[in-house]
């Protein structure tokens, strides 16, 4: 066994000899029908280290963490906590043993205050509750872990960064020694990311163990002490971060080296740069009457990729819904090819040749319970040959679906399968292929790389560049600055629903765009 692990760096660098791991996974396996989710997974997690778990979607990270947190039982292998074999029958058992998880989607009660949410997790919360006692307690805990919170604030008034702090504090205050974070930086502004890093390092230095699930390489290089790469449900390597290179990790993660291009040059010179869509002074409010998008004007031109940068939830989804006609503007105009689209619905935008890959594909662009066929024709069921004024031709729909599956490179024997039975990546590919077919003029793509693995992301980016080369416009909403800077001809930065500025390709500066994203007016450079 030991020679098998010969090239694996199984212990942190500066660990005193003989210090035992906090948690050991030994030969863990988990099977689902037709899928090996995990197999032969052996990892040691030591106190005082930040251990990153890297892998593509479907590599088995989530399943493994569900086993560690007691949601699933392993089919083989065992969990060893402090030297004793344990079996977590439920998430409560894992929490009681000191294992806490901060999920990507926070599990907080949004109408409760911070103190009330913290009290929810406390075992000692008594029958009688006093607001002041809860607030005092919250402050004590916040002090102890050095996390800055306002106990009396309601959760729905907090930014996602603040909510995350509450979530982390709740897990820690329940006595967690092992903290698991799932993609923690996805919802944070660059400034908040720094604060999170500091808090995690503090926790580690106090002897806590952190498992960081991520597929952002730079994040892992900056924060983690060790990294374990998972591929096809198995461990493909464990390394000290200080001794490894990002390219090694990528190769291990996907089994072959993939070059993440930082530039997608045009294959031919741009011939046409007329404005395809023009936004004049458009704005949006949400149901509660709060301004989600402040009046802004923007031109989208043929043959360009316009990037939209911003921390998630700063008006991007409102803007992209507007561009696709799913939402109408309170003020101003949306012009497509010079025509005012006021009062026209999503179908008019589709007819005008605007495709849309929305952020939450499964719930917004697909009907999960319906078959793949019904979903494939969702945007085109009115047009010949699938549909007529009244008719719907099931056989034509099936033929169309098969060709779409081909284009999307999804192999599926039975198109009547409900689409929710497909993997997230395949759902995403189908939506992208469908919308590409529609977008004669422009494609609005919101977070198109979410849910895709690195190989598929490279393919998707190339597709966007191809669409641009064909003289169509692409609006790319993303939280990944590298992606935006590699693809976009211009980057528009949104913060708090305001258009901060539009940066042309020549002036890209990571620090400046980062500052704009967190609301500071990029004054540094001017």
């Amino acid at each position: 066994m030991s020679d098998l692990l010969h090239n694996q760096e199984t212990r942190p660098a500066d660990l005193p000899a003989g210090a035992p791991p906090l948690l050991t996974l030994s030969g863990i396996a988990k099977y689902f029908p037709g899928v090996v989710a995990n197999k032969d997974v052996s990892i040691d997690f030591y106190p005082g280290e930040i251990h990153a778990l890297l892998g593509e979607n479907g590599a088995g990270k989530s399943t493994l963490m569900n086993i560690v947190t007691g949601l699933y039982q392993p089919d083989e292998g065992e969990l060893i906590l402090d030297g004793y074999g344990v079996r977590f029958e439920s998430p409560e058992a894992a929490i009681a043993a000191g294992i806490g998880m901060v999920h990507q989607h926070f599990k907080l009660v949004s109408r409760f205050t911070v103190a009330e949410n913290l009290a929810l997790g406390w075992r000692e919360t008594g029958f009688r509750l006093s607001a002041s006692a809860m607030a005092r307690r919250a402050e004590v805990e916040a002090e102890r872990y050095g996390l800055d919170i306002r106990p009396s604030a309601r959760i729905d008034t907090l930014t996602s960064g603040e909510q995350q702090r509450v979530e982390i504090l709740r897990v820690l205050s329940r006595g967690a020694r092992l903290l698991i974070l799932d993609e923690p930086t996805a919802v944070l502004s660059p400034l908040e990311v720094g604060e999170l890093y500091a808090a995690l390092r503090r926790f580690r230095d106090g002897g806590g163990a952190v498992i960081l699930i991520s597929h952002k390489l730079d994040e892992i290089m900056a924060l983690a002490d060790r990294v374990t790469v998972l591929r096809h449900g198995r461990v493909s390597g464990t390394h000290l971060v200080a001794h490894t290179e990002p390219s090694t990790l990528v190769t291990e993660m996907i089994g072959r080296p993939v070059e993440q291009k930082s530039d997608y040059p045009r294959k031919m010179p741009r011939t046409d740069d007329d404005a395809v869509m023009v936004l004049e002074n458009v704005s949006c409010r949400d149901g509660a009457g709060q301004m989600r998008l402040h009046p802004l004007s923007l031109e989208i031109c043929a043959g360009e990729i316009l990037g939209i940068a911003g921390v998630t939830g700063n008006g991007q989804s409102e803007l992209s819904d507007l561009l696709a006609g799913l939402r109408s503007s309170e003020t101003g105009h949306v012009l497509v090819d010079g025509k005012d689209m006021r009062g026209r619905g999503p179908n008019a935008f589709r007819e005008a040749g605007i495709g849309y890959v929305p952020e939450d594909r499964l719930h917004k662009a697909l009907a999960p319970a319906l078959g793949v066929t019904e979903n494939a024709v969702m945007r085109l069921f009115r047009t010949s040959p699938i549909g007529g004024r009244l008719a719907y031709h099931a056989s034509e729909a099936l033929r169309f679906t098969r060709s779409l599956l081909d284009q999307a490179q999804v192999s599926l024997a039975e198109p009547a399968t409900p689409i929710r039975a497909l993997s997230g990546g395949n759902q995403q590919r189908l939506v992208l292929a469908r919308e590409r077919m529609i977008s004669h003029r422009a494609l609005v793509a919101s977070y198109p790389s979410r849910g895709l693995d690195i190989g598929a992301i490279a393919l998707m980016r190339q597709t966007l560049a191809d669409i641009r080369d064909e003289g169509r416009a692409v609006v790319l909403v993303s939280e990944d600055l590298d992606e935006l800077m590699a693809l976009s001809d211009r980057i528009a930065v949104l913060c708090g629903g305001r258009l901060m500025t539009v940066v042309p390709r020549g002036d890209y500066d990571r620090a400046r765009i980062g500052a704009l994203m967190s609301g500071r007016n990029g004054g540094a450079s001017s």
Partner: protein, 346 residues
């Protein structure tokens, strides 16, 4: 080692086997109860089978039960396609019967004019009865389950008022009943009228139309995920409204058939629970409109069985108990059918 996992797509064969087992289970429980009541199982079984299938009266009864069940079943099924629960088929059925009876009682036309008029009146009345809940659901998000259900009671008491008050029978003095309606749906054989074949045709047409029309696709999409339907450019609210209104019209047509074909009078209790049993029929039929036919048949057999049991001094509520048990067993079997044993190697 083996574990059980849940399939996301359940093969029809598994569902079918599960349901056969569920039906078997229901009969087993029924047999047990009958035994505890001190009845001879052999006698009961013979009696049920011979009186249902072995006599002209039984077969006629079966056909007469099936007709309204097909219509209310189709009504509930249509709404379910749009993700809506029409609990009000009972009320819509009564509204349709009332309107059709009004045409039959008070308009002095020959039958070939009266019958189409009555059918139209029945459908319009049923549609109107569901229009308010439909509008509330479609544009205001008011739960259609509550509103359609509550309107049932209003329809029921309205019929009682009419048949004991202004429309009461003053010729023969029949209680809680209108006079005999002279226009009648022509019969095919014995007392079985053309409503049955019409109901079969309606169900078949419904299946074909929804499967091959844009409206059917849009309805399914709106029912399955309204947000995605909006994205696909479908106006969801009008579709939901139409679905519930059409659903009401189908139930109303069923009411017309019952009043002018089977009972020939407007009576209190005319609906006989057909509206509620229609929910069971639609649930049994699942996705397919054609499956409404065997489902309605099964329900008709159970209703007939109830009559036989009553002659053996078993309470009339036994039908409800059996139906409830059946729904329960089938819901459980459909769920269990999704689970398969998975063998894992060591």
């Amino acid at each position: 080692m083996s574990r059980r996992i849940r399939l996301s797509v359940v093969p029809a064969r598994r569902i079918f086997i599960g349901r056969a087992l569920a039906l078997g289970f229901v009969f087993l429980v029924l047999a047990l109860v009958l035994m505890l009541l001190g009845l001879n199982l052999g006698t009961v079984a013979t009696l049920v089978v011979t009186s249902t299938f072995g006599t002209e009266f039984g077969l006629e009864n079966l056909a007469l039960y099936m007709t309204p069940l097909l219509m209310t079943g189709a009504a509930v099924w249509l709404a379910l396609r749009a993700g809506l629960w029409n609990i009000g088929a009972e009320g819509q059925f009564l509204a349709g019967a009332t309107a059709a009876s009004a045409v039959g009682l008070f308009l002095p036309f020959p039958a070939f004019v009266t019958l189409p008029l009555a059918a139209m009146a029945g459908m319009i009345a049923g549609a109107c009865w569901s229009a308010v809940p439909a509008a509330g659901r479609a544009w205001l998000g008011v739960s259609e389950i509550i509103t359609t259900l509550l309107l049932n009671f209003i329809a029921s008491y309205l019929v009682y008022y009419l048949v004991t008050g202004p429309w009461a029978d003053r010729v023969t003095g029949a209680q809680v009943s209108s006079e005999r309606i002279h226009a009648a749906i022509p019969t095919i054989y014995g007392v079985v009228h053309w409503g049955g074949p019409l109901a079969l045709a309606v169900v078949t047409a419904l299946g074909l139309l929804l499967g091959r029309s844009r409206f059917g696709y849009e309805l399914t999409l709106s029912g399955s995920n309204p947000e995605a339907a909006h994205y696909a450019g479908v106006s969801v609210a009008p579709r939901l409204f139409m679905a519930l209104v059409f659903s009401g019209a189908l139930a109303g047509l069923g009411g017309m058939m019952e009043a002018l074909g089977t009972v020939h009078r407007l009576q209190g209790g005319l609906a006989h629970g057909y509206g509620y049993l229609g929910i069971v029929v639609a649930l049994l039929a699942r996705q397919s409109a054609l499956a409404l036919i065997p489902a309605a048949f099964l329900m008709a057999v159970i209703l007939n069985m109830g009559i036989v049991l009553q002659t053996l001094q078993v309470s009339a509520s036994s039908v409800l108990a059996i139906t409830g048990l059946l729904v329960f067993a089938i819901a459980v079997s459909d769920e269990l059918a999704a689970y398969v044993r998975l063998e894992t190697q060591k």
